[in-house]
């Protein structure tokens, strides 16, 4: 049985605490980024980070689904969007192997656009603001 809203809407305090928690975790991630993450210098390095973004989107979708913050239909949509981003990255890598830097960059950018939209949507539901 799908448990959506069986407990009732979260209070303002709950939402505030959750947002503060997310903020702290974001700060933690930012700190880690500053310590160990490095900026991509080549298209292939950009592809690596974008693949990581696709994987993170899928993991986040799974966590939100498990927490009943999104429906299975929404999760299916986000899975499909992640698939689209993945396809663009695979295509970009193929173009790169053929030496077509321009097409590789175009497909990397396409994937990043999809990922940006998907990440924003997932962040919205992570904040429980639906």
């Amino acid at each position: 049985m799908y448990r959506h809203n069986t407990i009732g809407p979260p209070s303002l305090l709950q939402n505030a605490a959750f947002v503060i928690g997310l903020l702290l975790l974001s700060l933690m991630l930012t700190s880690c980024s500053q310590v160990s993450l490095t900026k991509p210098q080549t298209t292939r390095e950009g592809l690596v980070y974008a693949y990581a973004g696709v994987t993170t989107a899928r993991n986040t979708t799974g966590s939100l689904l498990s927490a009943n913050k999104i429906t299975p239909a929404q999760a299916r949509t986000y899975q499909n969007l992640a698939d689209n981003a993945r396809s663009a990255l695979d295509l970009g890598d193929t173009f790169l192997a053929k030496g077509d830097q321009g097409q590789a960059q175009t497909h990397l950018q396409l994937a990043q656009n999809v990922l940006n939209q998907l990440t924003a949507t997932l962040a919205f539901y992570s904040g429980d603001k639906k």
């Binding site: 979260p10 928690g21 975790l25 993450l37 592809l47 693949y51 899928r58 966590s63 299975p72 992570s126």
Partner: protein, 73 residues
Amino acid sequence: MTNNTSQLAENILTATQIALNALAIAQMASSIILKAQREGRDVSNEEMAQMRVADDVARATLEAQIKAAESKA
């Protein structure tokens, strides 16, 4: 009050899970890129394949979660 606390705990758990997963994948990507940069080369096909495999696993896991949720709904 108990429900509120339970909901709050669930929210914190979800946020923590999301952040830890994101951190693990970001660290994986970062270590691949750092290693390549330190060795003065671009990312290899094998390293790129590692990222694809990680995504394949995440995809299969999410697919199973969606199917399980659909069957419960």
